[in-house]
Each structure stands twice: as structure tokens, then as C-alpha cells.
């Protein structure tokens, strides 16, 4: 049996199917050819397991020893079949079965140690082969973890689980194959074309006064903007930074104050009966109706804007956290109390994690309304900031800058919401897993 035939045989066997050609040849060099007559015993149960066998022709009866719970204690291995994989396990190198040739049999045998050493040099391929061995073992045993768990691993990351970049690339390629991106492009195309044509080409009655697509883009990316604001001017980033800073402060305060308030409102009935009515009386007043009062209460121009932004976020956070506590099944608290948990322990171990999902919904809403009221506050009372840019650009007839401000607001707002959502998803992984395991 020559090298090529051996490689072909390996290619037909289950574990080596996916191994590339040149590696197969290298593995074929490790293989030794042997032939047995009818009735020959290849190994007994309890022998030291040195080699893995692949049948070329003939038939081998494979009888598992008592004590190994197999789905089929007896099987016949024929051409292309693999047996004797105890040689590649890392804990147990004894034969679990007895193998007898039923007719004249030709086979190749590969030393387990040598095979493992070989794969150490090419861990990716090695892990694929070993995972295929593990699959084989899983099929044969009713208690497979015990055995298959000892199939060696070569790489740090199991290759069967796609992670990080490869997963992203896979999803990207799937997405590109679907009609979605092309429909999306069509949608954007229609939107931008309508804008461009209506304003700059056809000059429709009301549209003619609006800043056109090309005007806005030229201004936005111009190194020497007509109205003084583009991606090349430092003022642009200063405005963004001022707005973001206000959002950060307000969002932080709203979270730090709103989450505990919401937790206590949901947790203690007495507390809620006293505090919630006041909360509910104040809540219908639109945040933006607070603007003048905020200016009166907090002197200066910075604090009122932050206060308005904070107020909007605060309501959303506190209310959603409270709802979250209310949705917790009361039997959890009771069960914990039965097991001897103190009130504080129930609060920490049941109430807080139980309210988490709603809390993050609240934070997502909170960041949205924060931008909403920040813009209003900046337009009326602010100095600097994106809302201020939009408003002053209007009063000073810098129409393209209005649109630049709007687009920037959209982008920054979207990014901040996405960040909060990602943080939430990251911290809510246990919940996603729980939902997945529940089959819901």
C-alpha cells in the first residue's frame, strides 16, 4: 500500500475528511500498513492503547467490554471505519474493547502519541480532527462526556465556536447576500435624491428656501466654511463636547439618584405611598415647561440646562426601575425570606438583580429623553452646544449650519443610545442565556 492510497483511505475516514491534502500525506507517513487473517485478535480489552486503526478492506468485530455503557456494544467496522481511538485520549490509554478480524483484513495503524505530537504543530486542523473523534465517541456511548471530554485540545479557543471577528464577518457576508442592504441603499437614495432634486434642481415652491444637499455637504466638509462651522473647525467639536458633557453629567446624576429611588419605591410600600403621589403630581408637567423656572432657580446658563436634562432622565430611570421591581414575582422574595435572608439580603440578592432588565430599558429611554430636553434647553437658555448652534444659525441666517447641527445631533444621539444598549446587553447576558435556555 503506497503513500497515496493511504492518504486516500484517510480522506475517506470520518475524522480526517476535512484535513487538507498535503497534511494528509504527512499523516500517511506516520501510518503503518498491516494485514490480518480471519480470526486474528488485534487487541484485547485492558491492553495498552498505542495505535488508532483505520480499516482498508475486510471486516473487524468490535466488542466493547462490560462496564462501558455503549449504544451498541457490538459493531462491525468495515472499510473506511475507525477504531481504537482510546490511543488519542489524554487520560486513559487502555483498550475498552476486544477486536477480532472476521475475514482477511487490511488496515493501517497510526501511533496515537505521534498523531497528537503532529497536531500540536497545526493546532487548528488538529482540533477539527479531534472534535470529529469526539463526535464519533458521542455517537457510540450513552455517557459520552466522560470519554469524549478527554479528547485533547490544541488551540486555546475551540474552533467549533465562531467568535469575534470571524462571527462578524460571517454575519456581514450573510447580510450582504440578503436583499436588505440594497433596499436600504434604495431608501437612502430616494431620501437624498428627493432632497437634492426638490431643493436644488426643481426648486419647488417652499423647498427653494431650504439648504440643499450639496450646499450642506460642501459646508460640512469644507476646510474654509462660509458660515464658520465644519468638521475642520475646532468650534464644531467644542459644541459637540459641551453637549456631550452636559448629557454625561445629567445622565450620571439621573442614574445615581433615579435607580435607588426607583428601587425603594418598588420595594417599600410605605415609602411609595408617601413619595409616589408627589412624583406623579409633578410628572405630567412637560420638562420643557420647566425652562423658565429652571433659569430662575439656578443662576447662570449651564446649570439650568443640566437640570432640565437631568429631570427628563430622572423620571424615566426612576419609573422604569420601580416597574422592574414590581414585575418581580413575590415568591422569590418569600423564598429568600424562608431561607433566612434578612431584609437587606432580599433587597441585594433579589430586588436589585430582578429589576435590572427594566432598569436598562429605563436607561435607554433616559438617554433618549436626555437629548430631547437638552436640545430644548440649549435652544432657549444655553451658550454653546448643538441646540445652541441650531438656534443661533437660524437667527443669524446660516441655514446650512442648521442642517449640520441636526445631522450631528442625530449621530451623537444615536451613538450614545447604542452605547447604553450595548452596556445593557453586556450586563444582561445572564438574562439572554436564561431566555435561551427556557426555550422562549
Amino acid at each position: 500500500m503506497n503513500q497515496n492510497q493511504t492518504a486516500d483511505l484517510l480522506k475517506r475516514s470520518m475524522p480526517f475528511q476535512t484535513v487538507p491534502g498535503e497534511m494528509l500525506e504527512a499523516i500517511a507517513k506516520l501510518a503503518r500498513y498491516e494485514s490480518y487473517a480471519r480470526g486474528d485478535v488485534i487487541y484485547h480489552q485492558g491492553d495498552f492503547a498505542d495505535d488508532v486503526f483505520i480499516v482498508s478492506s475486510g471486516a473487524v468485530q468490535h466488542t466493547l467490554g462490560i462496564g462501558f455503557q455503549a449504544t451498541h456494544p457490538e459493531k462491525i467496522v468495515r472499510s473506511g471505519g475507525v477504531f481504537g481511538w482510546a490511543a488519542v485520549l489524554d487520560n486513559q490509554r487502555t483498550r475498552m474493547a476486544k477486536t477480532v478480524c472476521m475475514e482477511r483484513t487490511e488496515l493501517i495503524r497510526i501511533n496515537g502519541e505521534e498523531l497528537i505530537n503532529f497536531f500540536k504543530a497545526t493546532p487548528e486542523t488538529g482540533d477539527i480532527v479531534m472534535s470529529r473523534f469526539a463526535t464519533m465517541i458521542n455517537k457510540e456511548y450513552t455517557m459520552p462526556e466522560e470519554v469524549a471530554g478527554h479528547v485533547p485540545h490544541f488551540t486555546q479557543v475551540p474552533v467549533t465556536v465562531a467568535t469575534g471577528l470571524s462571527l462578524t464577518m460571517f454575519r456581514l457576508s450573510q447580510w450582504l447576500k440578503s436583499p436588505k442592504p440594497y433596499l436600504m441603499m434604495t431608501g437612502f437614495g430616494i431620501l437624498l435624491a428627493t432632497w437634492y432634486l426638490a431643493v436644488e434642481v426643481w426648486k419647488l415652491p417652499r423647498f427653494a428656501d431650504m439648504p440643499g444637499l450639496t450646499t450642506v455637504m460642501k459646508e460640512w466638509f469644507s476646510k474654509d466654511p462660509v458660515y464658520g462651522l465644519s468638521i475642520w473647525t475646532p468650534e464644531y467639536y467644542q459644541h459637540i463636547w459641551v453637549s456631550v458633557r452636559r448629557i454625561l453629567i445629567a445622565f450620571f446624576l439621573a442614574t445615581v439618584l433615579g435607580v435607588p429611588l426607583g428601587l425603594f419605591l418598588g420595594w417599600s410600600k410605605t415609602f411609595r405611598e408617601y413619595v409616589f403621589p408627589v412624583f406623579e403630581t409633578l410628572r405630567p408637567i412637560p420638562i420643557l415647561a420647566w425652562v423658565p423656572l429652571a433659569i430662575i432657580m439656578f443662576q447662570g446658563s449651564e446649570t439650568p440646562v443640566i437640570f432640565l436634562t437631568f429631570l427628563a432622565s430622572f423620571y424615566a430611570t426612576a419609573l422604569n426601575t420601580m416597574l422592574g421591581v414590581e414585575t418581580i414575582d413575590e415568591s422569590y422574595s418569600r423564598a429568600a425570606a424562608c431561607l433566612g435572608a434578612s431584609k437587606w439580603q432580599v433587597f441585594r440578592e433579589v430586588i436589585v438583580p430582578g429589576a435590572m432588565p427594566f432598569m436598562f430599558t429605563g436607561l435607554q429611554i433616559s438617554i433618549g429623553v436626555a437629548w430631547f430636553s437638552l436640545v430644548a434647553g440649549e435652544m432657549v437658555a444655553g451658550e454653546y452646544g448643538l441646540g445652541y448652534v441650531i438656534n443661533t444659525s437660524y437667527t443669524m441666517v446660516r441655514y446650512p449650519t442648521i442642517v449640520i447641527g441636526m445631522i450631528t445631533l442625530g449621530i451623537v444621539g444615536y451613538v450614545s443610545s447604542a452605547l447604553v444598549r450595548m452596556a445593557g446587553d453586556y450586563m444582561m447576558q445572564w438574562r439572554v442565556r436564561e431566555l435561551a435556555l427556557g426555550g422562549r
Partner: protein, 273 residues
Amino acid sequence: MISKRLTKSLFSRSNLRAVIAIFVFLVLWEVGSRSKDWFGFPMPWVGHVPPPTAVLVAWYGLLGDPGYWQSWYMSTLRVLAGFLAAMVIGIPLGLFMAVNKTFHGIVFPSFEVLRPIPPLAWVPASIIFWPTQELSIAFVTFLGAFFTIVINVLGGAKSIDPRFFQSAQSMGSSQWDVFRRVVLPATLPSIVVGSAVGMGITWEVVVAAEMISGGGGTTGSGGGLGFFIWNSYVGGSYEQIVVGMISIGIAGFVCSELLRKLGGYLTPWLRKR
């Protein structure tokens, strides 16, 4: 018998506590804002706010003022105009996006790109675009409710169990039947929720739009509640600011409650028994 039950529920412990809490809140507010006169040192923040008694007096004076009621009328009109436009355009758009995948693929991304822009950022652009101030304010109010309604309708329609469609189709329903008998009743609850939330946003937006754009009317108090507040601020009558705030709170609350009641009437199967 009924009166006894009524008194019992009226004077329940939770209601009693609510009254106590609001009373304490008002007293603290009163003391806080009068602390400069009474104790000689002003409280931070609250010290600048007019006390509730003064607000009540100012409110009482305004009750006979037609200009105040005109503000109510103007704001309500604008809210209704923007809100109705958002319903009329938003609900069919949301439903159509839910039913037709191609349309969803084309429109939804553009929709999502425009959505993060806060409605108030549209105010200047809207003033430039629309011929009258009235229309521009209504447009911004429309935007406020529009996105919320569409997202809610779409979400509601997407969460329908696909087996409902399959069973309706297997029993020979036409596309229209599926829409009329499955999609519409299934999305009705989310339409109601979206509308109620949208109504709240509409009131938020109308106030700000009135403040920023100057209210439409040149004659002081005729320009809606938002302008009423802003005018009171500029004129220095701080009590009236608070009156305006409370008025808007009441108006928004009443509108949302009416909408919820109407929604409950439209979706009787969701009523709690």
C-alpha cells in the same frame, strides 16, 4: 351601602398618605420660598420659586382672563392638529411596513436615520419651510408623535404570532382579510399605547416649539400655553410661570387619560376584570 364603600375607599390608608405627602410637599415649598421673609436667609434654589399661595392667588386672578383661556385653546388646537396628522400618516405607514417586507427594507433604515434627531431640532428648519408659524409648530408637534406611533405600531405588528397568519391563510383568507381580522386587532393595543405616549410627547414639544418660535400670535397672551409661560418669564411675573406649568400638566394629563379611556373602549379584551 355604596356610600359606605365609597367613603372607605376614599379614606383608605394609601389615599390618606398621598394627601399627607402632597400637603407636606406644599408646606415645604411654601416655607422654602418664603424663607427669606420669614427667617432672613434665602433657601438655595427653592428660594427663587414663588410660593404656592401666591401661585393660587395669581391663578385665581387669571381664571377670568380670556387671554389665559385663549392660550389653552391655541395649544390644544396645535396638539390636536399635530397628533391627528401623526395618527393619520403614522398608523398606515407602520402597518404597511409590517406587512410588506420590501417597503420595510426601503423605508425603515431612512426612518431610523431621521429618528434620533430630537423633534425640537427641527424647529428652525420647520419655520423656514412652512409659510405660517402655525403650520411650523404643528409640524414639529407632528414629528414628536409620529416616530413614537410608527415604532409602536410596527413593534406591535411584528410581535404577532405567525401561526395566526398561517391559520387564517389556510382557511382561505385574502390578504385584506388577514389585515382586517388579524393584523389590525392585534396591533390595536400597541396603537393605543403609542398614541398615549405620543400624546405626552406632543405636549412636551408644543410647549417648547411655542417658546422658541414666539408663539405665532404677536399679541402677548394669545400664543398658547408655552408662550404664556415664556411671556410671564420675560415679563417677570414668576407666579404665572408656575400657573402655566400646572395648566400644561393638567392639559397633558387629561389628554393622555382620555386617550387611554378611548383605547380601553376600543380594546375591550384587554380590560382588567
